[in-house]
Symmetry: C2
Subunit: 254 residues, 2 copies
DNA sequence: AACTGTGAAGATCTTCACAGCA
DNA sequence: TGCTGTGAAGATCTTCACAGTT
């Protein structure tokens, strides 16, 4: 199996449902936009619209964080931004290393929204000696021999794997052995990690396959269906959350 | 709201649950690997291990497709590969266009697993005139003025948006107007699309934020907890499936 | 009057556990 | 005997609908 994952209640301590946690970043993004426009307050209806969810769901989600709204008025934008950031752990600094600096790794390194939210690219690592020293997004690439040292020196706990599929597991093992406990995997492989380590995957081909499934179905309906063209609009997120156990699909490999 | 999405039973016709559809690509990947090793049959237990899911779930998933296994034996690898491919619509050709050829767009264009599964990069489109004609992954980039013509000439129904956030919605609108009905969005924005159009998103910063949340929690437990270091391993997929209505998070922007 | 917070109903998804076929 | 297929129980998530607060 992918690994020694344990049945974790999926939601611990303060008990925020996993599905809710997965949406907090969306709310945060919408709130940040409002904040930049100096909007003081929003109603659940407005914010839900901006985040693309239904308002009841949003209110229920916020209710797990506490009672941060004011009846008859709505939510204070700045206050909510702070509360959600804190809940997500974004009020602290998270040094991140990206392993595998190909097009994808470079794209990730250049991604701005990165630094903006407490994440800091502590280092870029690649196995190709020819890449060593070359700056990508202003950061010099380091050779993978340095991996362990980099992780330790920077106190990195989050690693991003953007290597080819074959290199992913070995890299993962080294990251974990060096102390990384959260991994974002872009390689099209199921990673095996020990208990205590979280892995999230993003896999392009899987996303495309899911779209193809629905696309095929639409095509079938056109000709088949008798009850007129039924609506079928949907906006699924390529990132939900599967069960606490078992891996699920995701999006995009190196 | 992200858009005019309609309450669709989420699962139509043959009624394959959305959660199952999201896992089919995983099974397919594992099966393909077995097929390459010329393994003739697999048990649900073995395949589940390779795909990183629990065997009961896998059997239940397959049961929605039909009874393709043999009691006492297992599943015929080749046969299953075919059945799942067909179910996902991968037995047909899906021309895809990628809009926004920055590092990410280039990474996607270079992604191999692409062509391997019925997907064909029909065109690369970018708004920068300087990019026009330049080959990326062997395909010449075309200027966005050509977008509508490209979509129509190639019968493209799936579009990938890898542009900066600000350009995403306009690009999306043009793609949809030209006939695209499935969109994979890498820009960190909620896209609004009409009914009948599917959108899946992939957003790096959201994935990192979710990891940070769990990471923060782990840190808290270390000091807090009294019941010894509890296991907390998890492998969530950065791509699950939210409800049929409402967008959910995902992974990675341009 | 407007809008939040939430119990309760409903929908979906997961897991168990075992009947049933090869 | 070995392993699939699946009813049923359980867990999670979503949505409703309205009581409660400003």
């Amino acid at each position: 199996m992918a690994t020694g994952r344990t049945h974790r209640p999926a939601t611990r301590s303060r008990g925020i449902p996993e599905a809710t946690v997965a949406r907090l970043p969306l709310y945060l993004r919408a709130l940040t936009a409002l904040s930049e426009r100096s909007v003081p307050t929003v109603s659940s209806e407005e914010l839900a619209a901006a985040a693309g969810v239904n308002s009841a769901k949003l209110r229920k989600d916020f209710s797990y964080l506490g009672s941060y709204g004011t009846r008859g008025v709505g939510y204070d934008v700045e206050y909510l931004v702070y509360q959600i950031s804190r809940e997500l752990g974004l009020t602290q600094d998270w040094p991140v290393v990206i392993v595998g600096i190909g097009n994808l790794g470079a794209a990730l390194a250049n991604y701005g929204g990165f630094a903006s939210r407490g994440f800091r690219v502590a280092a870029l690592i690649d196995a190709d000696p020819a890449m060593a020293g070359k700056p990508v997004a202003g950061i010099p690439v380091q050779h993978s021999d340095e991996l362990e040292k980099i992780i330790k020196d920077n106190g990195v706990s989050i690693g991003v794997i953007a290597t080819p599929a074959g290199a992913a597991q070995p890299v993962c093992d080294r990251l974990v052995a060096a102390g990384v406990t959260s991994i974002l995997n872009f390689a099209p492989t199921v990673l095996t990690v020990p208990d205590g380590v979280d892995v999230r995957k993003v896999d392009l081909s899987i996303e495309l396959q899911i779209l193809a499934f629905h696309e095929q179905r639409k095509a079938g309906e056109e000709t088949a269906a008798g009850d007129g063209a039924l609506p079928a609009a949907t906006t699924r997120n390529a990132a939900g959350d599967q069960g606490p156990d078992g891996d699920v699909p995701a999006v995009m490999p190196a």
